[in-house]
Assembly symmetry: C2
Homo-oligomer: 431 residues x 2
């Protein structure tokens, strides 16, 4: 069972039982559907044919335009749409075949996909601050050793920007990844679903498709940008060239046997969204600002409690390391690893987070992932207010979550870190 979805269901149960909870476990985006997007789906409710396995030409063309505006020229005939980027990522593992290199830490489903596909997930650590991309030197070592041992790695999965660390690997790291992948003849599967959620637009994530266009598959979807995870719509961009076209055909064949086609009415709405009309661009910008503001304010609470945190520059995820508090946590709370820490936070305080071990890290790691994307309000009215607020962290319902987490972390950390968190506000947010 996906750790994030399982944690999500556990938190929902607690809430139904009347407990006060702060849900930072799953990264589901708690924001309303943009009214225009909702209307597109409603107007397409009479569309009920399968249509092409790879998705309608209108949707594939819109997705190609989306990538073209980001510097990646794209042939609509090399775009494959599916019911979420998750099934596309799984089908890509099947289509490429062979073992898969995944970064540590990384999203919970990559390793699960490899296991379901009957291949071996090979873990390669990230370099510090370079979340989502296996350290290119270690990638070379690991693949070479695996091949010497008779294994058959054929692909490497990367996440740009990264879940769970909220960081973005530098262009130089991505360039070196591309070089290593070319030398090792690996397909790069680049999960770029957080592409538009880099807080500072001046420093975007750079896709490996820039450096290794002949071997990079890019995936994205509507889930994170537009808060429609429940609509299940993802898109994949296959490489030009003979190998890319062969991979495209295998992917479409697998799609035809596992899911047939993306949901027809959703395709219509998605084609509109990938066309990026001004109201959609503005909505994504609002979400980005909201994530940035709240994630950074929340990061301060963790830092104030003594956790180490690489500055969060994208997504809605924090990945605090409580290693410096290890002795205290064991003595005061009997908490000796990330899973114990997550259990302590949810059972004692109703604060849901995910242990680092779910992301492939060692059991002993005292790290957790906290997502801020559920803290924006309990009603659509609150959430809409949050989207347009100059300082979302000053809104009472967001402020109270921040304060509550600050208190919980103060309790966790004990007297040594009992100081109140630093004041947050526009000035602090810009830090």
């Amino acid at each position: 069972m996906s750790a994030t979805l399982a944690a999500d269901e556990a938190i929902a149960r607690r809430r139904r039982e009347g407990q006060q909870v702060i849900s930072m476990a799953s990264g589901e985006i708690g924001l309303p559907v943009h009214p225009e997007l909702r209307d597109r789906l409603a107007h397409a409710a009479d569309r009920a044919s399968y249509g092409p396995v790879a998705g309608s030409l209108a949707l594939r063309t819109a997705a190609a335009g989306y990538w073209r505006r980001r510097g990646l020229d794209t042939d609509p005939d090399l775009v494959v749409c599916g019911p979420g980027s998750k099934p596309l990522l799984y089908a890509l593992v099947l289509a490429v075949g062979g073992d898969v290199v995944i970064p540590t830490p990384s999203w919970v489903s990559y390793a699960a996909h490899a296991r379901l596909a009957g291949v071996r997930p090979l873990s390669v650590p990230i370099a510090a601050g370079q979340g989502g991309v296996p350290d290119p030197d270690l990638l070379r070592e690991t693949v070479t050793a695996a091949r010497a041992a008779g294994h058959d790695p054929r692909s490497v999965v990367v996440t740009l920007p990264d879940n769970p660390t909220g960081t973005v690997a530098s262009p130089e790291t991505v360039r070196r990844l591309g070089e290593a992948a070319r030398d090792l003849d690996l397909v790069i599967i680049s999960d770029e679903i957080y592409c538009d959620l880099v807080f500072d637009p001046a420093t975007p994530a750079v896709s490996p498709a820039v450096f290794a266009p002949e071997r990079t598959v890019v995936t994205t979807g509507l889930t994170k940008n537009l808060a429609v995870g429940g609509w299940r719509l993802g898109v994949a961009r296959l490489p030009e060239g003979e190998a890319g076209r062969a991979l495209h055909d295998r992917l479409v064949g697998i799609a035809s046997q596992i899911w047939s086609s993306p949901v027809a009415p959703v395709q219509e709405a998605a084609a509109y969204a990938f066309g990026e009309p001004p109201e959609i661009v503005e909505r994504v910008a609002q979400s980005r600002r909201l994530h940035g503001s709240v994630a950074r304010a929340m990061a301060e609470r963790f830092t104030a409690a003594g956790a180490i945190l690489t500055p969060v520059v994208a997504t809605c995820y924090l990945y605090p390391d409580f290693g410096p508090l290890r002795t205290h946590l064991v003595r005061a709370h009997g908490v000796y690893n990330g899973a114990e820490l997550a259990r302590f936070l949810v059972e004692r305080h109703g604060v849901g987070v995910i242990a680092a071990s779910a992301f492939g890290e060692p059991l002993a790691a005292l790290r957790v992932r906290a997502a801020t994307s559920r803290l924006y309000g309990d009603t659509d009215e609150e959430r809409t207010t949050a989207l347009t607020a100059a300082d979302p962290t000053a809104l009472p319902w967001i402020r109270s979550s921040l304060d509550r987490v600050g208190e919980v972390l103060a309790d966790l950390a004990g007297p040594a870190f009992a100081a109140p968190p630093a004041a947050s506000g526009p000035a602090a947010d810009a830090a």
Copy 2:
């Protein structure tokens, strides 16, 4: 690539190129969405959360009621919903593990699912007229021999009513299947998506869940009943008992990693449909009558041309055997197998059908599957008229397809079978 979806796309291409085509390749149901069902989806367009992996409680409860009304008492906690019954069937193969017995002939995706899951599909022929269920005696022989050879069959897939033969295995065959599965300790995966499309309601298909409740998983969906294939919504009913619950949990775990959850707005519409309000029951009854009328009239054209056809009693599929015309087909047209026959029909006459080899039959078999579900009209107005017509075969657009196929088959069969097809009408339809 799924043979039916591939054929579908090829026919659509020909149509776009301005060719006159008669599409009997895919079994997609060419009928409009019921307005009430469409409105439910439209009204749910603001639902965008994932919700539970297995589907909402409302949908699972509605599906449980659907099965309860058909004599299968069902716990909503043992219902798992997914984006189509196709992904559920695939995930079940992964969840059960081990090799899979499939009937010959059978739907194109069962064997593909086994191959994608990295297990062995074991083919067992059906007994004459007992489509969808492997002959129980041959099932015993095959599984025993496979185990002796070191293989590990753990499940058997059945289709009730059957695609591609349009027949329904008798309760006695199903009882013997259940007995064999129990003796062999096999899980039965029973695809019952055509359950409500048995032409004579007095002789319904009987589920193996009646005879072997502890080991039978039943799947169905909205695609065939309500012509919303593009909405991708299927449901699975897991068995009571410890093994059933363990299988349920594995299935949900796999679902969480491959597709997350069924599409949220579609779940709302599906809960309404599985609740079976009178207007939905009536719509399904109309579809059933329409399929019965047109499929039987089309069957007469094939029989008149000299093909052998087991009487079609359910679905919208005919499975004619042109074996008696083999010598003529080779001499007159260079057609020596099912694939050549399908190619001849589409290239010379624009009539799309699927060769028996796509359903696991030997290449040499001179059988094809023809679906009538696309012949009900080119516009929603025509299709709605067809749904309520006392004699749909008398409607000009349906009559012209029947006549055209009759002419094509007369050309195929040559002078020996050039007699005009028998008159069809209410009397013939009731046969």
